[in-house]
């Protein structure tokens, strides 16, 4: 037989020490066992004694409730293919007693360990939470594909096409970075953008917004990945020369406070749950109520509003969704008082939502989000008359989704 491994000799020695001390440590050992058992039992039983939530407000995501158990054969199927167990796993994570406090505790612990951030969220200056985003090779390739799709679309279509890129928060908030943070790696993606912009028309909104942010203007939400309505205004102002309109001056708008309770996506991801809430604003212009917003599914109108805002979202967690009533495949905006505005086709992601109220002063809008739109842009253009096209998207969705890939599909 093989001789004993030194590690086993050591383990034996340790157990021997424990055994030798056992008479003296017995009481302490029993207390340890009892405390561990108590700790486990409290949560084991506790999870079934507390009310279960199907949605987490702070995390802005739906939660798994206790998986369905029914006496029919279906239940056995769900065990057999493992679905029941997978749901039970999620149930334990999502409904665990004190979940929100535990998530917040972890965020605190990470800071205490000197990590300076939690879940890639940097606690910046002036109360800004900045999402730190670095792209992998695959994501950079995805970005390139989206950019190439725009090039192909532009070549195939007979309309003026403007293309503008919304930056990420970290691209404009340099001023608010924590003192030791260095952004080289986050900056790498701009090499791809610059290379593209050198050969193709592309309006990067980064520089003008950064200049505003540097000057201390609140162009970005402290707790969300979107620009504020003020930031959206500056984006709109930049678009003027590109899209052929004269931007209205800032003081022509009336500022309406939509909510003072806003906590956005960066907040949800951060675990820094003691972050103060912030204000969300609508910039109103005279006559904007005459505009109607229709959410379309195919030819049918799913819902419609006067103005651009779905105020029901202001009562919920995801308040930014009040702009244009969240993400929809196809939204149409018409001015009932002024029918002869030119029509713009806007291909966009959510960054455009807060810009649309400004653009609507000059255009009737057909707004497509290709991630949700069931048909193709080509088919849309074959059936609808538009005068110009604006593509306005966030850098992050271009790198992390196939946002624009279907743009040239079916053209020519």
């Amino acid at each position: 037989m093989a001789k004993q491994h030194p590690a086993d000799r050591e383990a034996d020695r340790v157990l021997a020490i424990q055994r030798q001390l056992a008479p003296r440590t017995r009481r302490g050992d029993i207390i340890l066992i009892a405390l561990c058992a108590l700790f486990i039992l409290i949560f084991a039983v506790g999870i079934y004694c507390i009310p279960h939530r199907s949605f987490s407000e702070v995390e802005n995501s739906s939660l798994q409730t206790f998986p369905r158990v029914s006496s029919s054969g279906k239940f056995l199927d769900r065990i057999w293919d493992g679905r029941f167990m997978a749901e039970l796993k999620d149930f334990y994570t999502d409904q665990f007693p004190l979940r929100d406090s535990l998530v917040a505790a972890r965020a605190k612990a990470e800071l205490l360990l000197g990590k300076g951030e939690n879940n890639d969220v940097l606690p910046g200056k002036d109360g800004y939470l900045i999402k730190r985003i670095e792209y992998s090779e695959t994501q950079l390739a995805q970005l390139q594909e989206n950019l190439d799709a725009v090039t192909a679309f532009r070549a195939a279509v007979d309309l003026p096409v403007a293309f503008a890129l919304a930056p990420r928060g970290m691209d404009v908030l340099d001023r608010c970075f924590p003192p030791l943070y260095a952004n080289d790696r986050g900056e790498a993606v701009w090499a791809v953008i610059d290379r593209y912009a050198a050969e193709h028309p592309l309006l990067s909104l980064r520089e003008p917004l950064r200049a505003r942010a540097d000057a201390g203007e609140a162009v970005w939400y402290r707790t969300d990945h979107h620009w504020t309505t003020l930031g959206a205004y500056y984006a709109y102002a930049e678009l003027g020369s590109l899209c052929g309109f004269t931007p209205a001056p800032l003081d022509s708008f009336t500022v309406e406070t939509a909510s003072t309770e806003f906590l956005g996506t960066t907040y949800s991801a951060s675990g820094f749950y003691d972050t103060p809430t912030e204000t969300m604003e609508f910039f109103r212009w005279t006559g904007d109520e005459a505009c109607t917003l229709e959410v379309l599914g195919g030819d049918k109108v799913i819902s419609s509003f006067d103005g651009f805002y779905d105020r029901s979202y202001l009562e919920k967690k995801d308040k930014y969704a009040a702009f244009l009533s969240s993400n929809n495949g196809h939204v149409r905006i018409r001015d009932t008082q002024n029918a002869d505005k030119p029509t713009m086709l806007l291909i966009k992601d959510s960054f455009a939502h807060s810009v649309v109220p400004f653009l609507a002063q000059h255009f009737n809008l057909e707004i497509l989000d290709l991630r949700y739109y069931r048909s193709t842009t080509a088919a849309f253009l074959a059936e609808n008359e538009v005068d110009s096209v604006l593509i306005l998207c966030g850098l992050d969705s271009m790198a992390t989704s196939n946002l624009l890939e279907s743009l040239p599909v079916g053209m020519e």
Binding site: A2, A7, A22, D29, C36, Y92, D184
Partner: protein
Amino acid sequence: MVFSSLEFLFLYLPITLLCYYAVPLRWRNAVLLAVSLIFYGWGEPRYLFLMLFTIALDYVCGYLVGRWQGTPRAKVTLVIAVVLNLALLGFFKYYNFFADNLRLIPFFGFLPDLDLRLPVGISFYTFQSLSYVIDVYRGDARAQRDPVAFGAYVSLFPQLIAGPIVRYHDVDEQLREREHSVLMVSSGIRTFCAGFAKKVLLADVAGALWADFAAIPADSRTVLAAWMGIIFYTAQIYLDFSAYSDMAIGLGKIVGFRFLENFDYPYTATSITDFWRRWHISLSTWFREYVYIPLGGNRVGKWKLVRNTLVVWLLTGFWHGASWNFVLWGLYYFALLMLEKLILANVLDKLPMALRRLYTMVFVIIGWLIFTASDSFTSGAEAWRYFGAMFGVGAAGFASGTDLYDLLRHGIFLLIVVIACTPLPRHLFYRGFAQKRWVRIAASVACIAALAAGTVYLVASGFSPFLYYRF
């Protein structure tokens, strides 16, 4: 199910232990078998049949081998058992690999793509079950007459899915009679809690960092980022796997079993040979006892020795995964070990300790890059580029500002990780444990704190896979 999950800790474990300690001694193996089968079936209920088949097969073969001890029939039965066990392992673990590679040859184009999912822990329990039949054949253990006890041995949930690989003769006695005591339970709790904290608070965090560093595009990867990344992976794989072994050993003690140690602080090794005496001990021991020594061990000529070592390392590499990089990894260690044995042995002895440790760690770290190549990179070429970047070839400079920031902010964590890889904490603890009452109290407080902190991290991340889960 894995140990570092909420449903294990707060559902499975309390129910299991309550049942186990509620029944009289003679029923405890039956309870163990039942709960172990539930544990195994939790992730993939269909493969329960595979497990039951293995238990039945080796029970019968072991029984027959024992009965026909010393006759040719025993040998035939042994061969049948070995062939069938390896055939099952081979089919479920390696079919895809062989089919994919053979299909490159035109004649084998007919091989279908079966898309088999690897049965959890099959590499571990097949080896355990095989050791039983072989031990009985060799007379190192008596055949187990009680099918329940045997079933409990093969499926024992603490080490079922990621080891340590418990050889039959090491637990033969304990299956009949084992120590259920306050001492064993409390000692088991301490071991389990240490493993739990190591897994959730250190290994998972290091793993997430490795994922971040591995995802840096090759164009912007610096020398420092490449090293930091692979060092975090090096930390992860040891902490993760040894944490699993700790938890297994701890849980074993809680139900009265003593398993052998699986790790002996491998990152303090002073040579590659020494590293392999300290890393995944139960696997090396298995290969030594059931492959290397039967082949003649090292009491043979130089060339046969090389051949035997080569066989063992090809198998070791391939055991870790059905992919070429694992074969390469095995060959890499074969080459290093042969080099040490035949050439370097005398040179190494003369070097200062610090230098020997540095030499060992550099090669171990490079080994881990080969090991993780098929998991962390899209192609071998990508892994090769990463390797290049570690030595400045094709790297985007030595360090970027972000690298320095990351190094700084993970400084404390890195320090904790390094300490966790050395015997220092254990040393301090047991010296104090014997002498000071307050150390013992602190240790108990630390156990509860580890459970609590681990729970916080589990809830907050909701994600904690075991690396060795899939081997």
